[in-house]
């Protein structure tokens, strides 16, 4: 078995009903492993971008891209090269605040990680944090010592550096 890595695949798709179904169904049917999937509009009104993180070896990744490309509603698709990729994820974390001292401990952690406190209650804080998944993992590890009440992560979204884009012809 070849080594598997997390790879990011970016697909430009028709922005219409059913497209997300055919994409996710393809992953289920072909037994590809989705680590995360995010969907949002693009700069073009009738196109959306689906950013998928898959855990795959070279061969599987090749199939992921080719099979996605075969879907008629997928207009363009490519792997984002690991050395020229910018990835971001956003997390909202509701942290337990046992005491006043700990509240200030939490807030200094948030500052170090360049997060923001977006909601405050007597027993909790809600923190917004953005960054690479690694950075978010590290922050969450710290927060676990206080106790995480609730967590929502968006999953990865990504673009490649430079002027190149996942074009319609690809």
């Amino acid at each position: 078995m070849e080594h598997t890595h997390n790879r990011v695949v970016s697909a430009i798709v028709e922005n219409k009903p059913g497209v997300l179904h055919s994409v996710s169904n393809l992953f289920r049917r072909r037994n590809f492993n989705i680590e995360s999937i995010t969907v949002g509009p693009t700069e073009t009104k009738d196109l959306a971008r689906i950013t998928i993180t898959v855990n795959a070896d070279e061969k599987t990744l090749d199939q992921v891209v080719k099979q996605l490309d075969k879907l008629v509603d997928v207009v363009g698709v490519a792997e984002l090269e690991p050395d020229s990729i910018v990835t971001r994820e956003l997390a909202l974390v509701k942290v337990n605040v046992p005491s006043v001292e700990e509240r200030s401990d939490i807030i200094s952690c948030v500052q170090v990680f360049r997060g923001r406190v977006v909601d405050v209650s007597p027993e909790s804080l809600m923190v917004e944090i953005t960054g690479t998944p690694d950075k978010i993992d590290a922050f969450l590890n710290l927060m676990r010592t206080f106790g995480i009440i609730e967590l929502a992560r968006t999953g990865i979204t990504a673009l490649s550096r430079g002027a190149r884009a996942v074009s319609l012809e690809e």
């Binding site: 798709v13 028709e14 059913g18 179904h21 055919s22 169904n25 393809l26 049917r29 061969k59 090749d62 199939q63 080719k66 099979q67 490309d69 075969k70 879907l71 008629v72 509603d73 997928v74 207009v75 363009g76 319609l168 012809e169």
Partner: protein
């Protein structure tokens, strides 16, 4: 511009696509379309007796003629009954366009009915997403013409496949100013037909140095109408041609370089020689597990060249040395031109000798005049009785594998069988579809008793619609192929395979108004086939055979092609 209903716009658009036949069954949710068809002189509607058969018939029509086949059903159960047929067309890359009725997208009680579990609502778009090349549902009457064009374009180009259009009833009924255009709308559909010349030149290099070249032709060669190009290249290279099961007919099986098909029940010579070859040129095949058997020993000595029109087939099942994405016909003719420029004809005499010797030693065909009523004899006799251009379909199981081994296909599109899905019951409705497409040719379904029972009700369709075909039931009173597995792999522990002597297929045929014969000898078989070919109604020929007959050779699951077992 005058206003047209969605249903009329649909029919107009179908005519624009040169549709002349629809196989279908109506129901409430597709009534406006049937109303628009009422009295139409140009489109023949054929009532199938089960929607599965409408889809299989559309596929038979498509595979015999090369033109897309069209089937139609109502919403809910009508649509879900199509599913097996659509899945079959998907696996065998057949251009089938399925039209389904759907509950209205707007209704009296609500502004949006779809999704509210209305009567006979089924999410056929969701259900068929993994088994169609494309599916769609119009939201407005005006979308219909473009959608139909797009559906046909996608179904028939590149690697063909089934497409489904789901038509909400209100969209069929509503009227609007509709322009019947030739436009399509598929910017995400990319089609590569022109092969990469750099890859071709590497392939040509490899082929010119080959001492033991072999060609493996898949169904793609038939779909691309590339048989002539294949024969030319094979002749020039003196490369023997094996086919996959789906490729049967791509290369004339009486040609001295024909090896028949490879696979689990492949021709022994083909299975043997593909293991000896030093260069394998595979065209239009997806390297299905039934064809290659264990990949570790598949063509293990050979450098591999893979030509396919579907980029996703490259590297999916097998790693190859050279991959060429392109149309088989174009690619083969470019390769031929390059090879012919570079090489002398008729090299590799040692290999030619080996091919001849292997064919003689390992041929499953019998030479002498046989008397026994066994599949081998029946099918090689059948070849002699049928004209060259007769179309043969098969059911699934032993009957199918015997047909592959003993019935020689001489021309492309004359051997039509359910390869990828292995759908029992496919052969008979597919035969009806083929006969509708090619009314002047003889069409024969080679059947097993178990399979024929699955779709035998279409005898009614064949009689009512005047579609005379011949069904030869190799009647072993068992689900033979499964019984063979239980015999060879489960220590003869037979479970749920005995079907008994019911029905009486002669009486069954007669009950439908068809002609029935039971034959017990080879002369009787000759006679029955001759009468069937002359008959104006469908003929069922019941041929009782032993129930413990095996298909050999047999490559047991997990083994490689060189490990074939059998008494050849």
């Amino acid at each position: 511009m005058t206003k047209t209903s969605g249903a009329k716009a649909l029919i107009q658009s179908l005519k624009n696509q040169k549709v002349d036949t629809i196989f279908g069954i109506l129901g409430g949710a597709i009534l406006p379309v049937y109303d628009a068809l009422c009295g139409d002189q140009n489109i023949r509607h054929i009532i199938a007796r089960h929607e599965q058969c409408a889809a299989h018939a559309a596929e038979g029509y498509a595979r015999a003629s090369g033109r897309p086949g069209v089937c139609m059903a109502t919403s809910g159960p009508g649509a879900t009954n199509l599913v097996t047929g659509i899945a079959n067309a998907y696996m065998d890359s057949s251009p089938v366009v399925a039209l389904t009725g759907q509950v209205p997208s707007t209704g009296t009680n609500t502004s949006y009915m779809i999704g509210r579990d209305a009567f006979q609502e089924a999410d056929i778009i969701g259900i068929t997403t993994p088994i169609t090349k494309f599916n769609c549902q119009p939201r407005a009457v005006t979308e219909i013409p473009k959608m139909v064009n797009t559906a046909f374009y996608i179904a028939t180009t590149g690697r063909p496949g089934p497409v489904l259009i789901d038509l909400p009833k209100n969209i069929q009924a509503e009227t609007a100013e509709v322009e019947i255009t030739n436009q399509i709308d598929a910017r995400g559909y990319n089609l590569v037909t022109q092969p990469d010349l750099a890859q071709i030149s590497i392939a040509v290099d490899l082929l010119s140095k080959a001492e033991k070249p072999i060609i493996l032709a898949g169904g793609g060669v038939i779909i691309a109408n590339a048989s002539d190009e294949l024969v030319k290249l094979s002749d020039f290279l003196m490369a023997p041609v094996a086919t996959t099961f789906m490729g049967k007919g791509a290369f004339p099986e009486i040609h001295p370089l024909s090896l028949g098909s490879i696979g689990m029940h492949g021709n022994p010579a083909a299975n043997r020689l593909i293991s000896e070859a030093d260069v394998l040129l595979a065209v239009g095949t997806r390297f299905s597990d039934r064809a290659t058997a264990n990949l570790n020993t598949f063509a293990a000595e050979a450098k591999k060249i893979h030509i396919d029109i579907d980029p996703a087939e490259i590297g999916k099942n097998i790693d190859v040395n050279i991959a060429i994405v392109g149309d088989a016909k174009k690619t083969l003719s470019i390769i031929y031109a390059a090879v012919a420029k570079k090489l002398q004809k008729n090299r590799g005499l040692a290999w030619a000798k080996r091919v001849k010797e292997a064919k003689e030693k390992l041929s499953p065909l019998i030479q002498d005049t046989p008397k026994d009523v066994v599949p081998k004899t029946l099918l090689s006799e059948l070849r002699k009785l049928l004209p060259e251009n007769a179309i043969v379909t098969t059911e699934v199981g032993q009957n199918q594998m015997w047909s592959a081994l003993y019935f020689q296909a001489l021309k492309p599109r004359t051997f039509i069988s359910s390869g990828g899905l292995g759908t029992m019951g496919f052969g008979f409705p597919a035969a009806l579809g083929a006969k509708v497409a090619c009314p002047d040719r003889a069409v024969v379904d080679i059947a097993g008793d178990g399979s024929f029972i699955m779709t035998e009700q279409e005898l009614a369709c064949s009689i009512m619609e005047n579609i005379p075909v011949t069904v030869i039931v190799l009647n072993n009173s068992v689900l033979g192929m499964v019984a063979q597995w239980q015999r060879l792999l489960y220590g003869k522990r037979y479970m749920a395979v005995h079907l008994g002597k019911t029905p009486d297929f002669v009486k069954l045929a007669e009950a439908f108004g068809a002609q029935g014969f039971r034959v017990g000898s080879i002369p009787e078989f000759h006679n029955a086939v001759k009468q069937a070919l002359k008959s104006k109604v469908t003929t069922v020929i019941d041929v009782p055979i032993g129930s413990e007959e095996d298909v050999v050779p047999f490559v047991p699951p997990g083994c490689g092609l060189p490990q074939q077992r059998g008494d050849y």
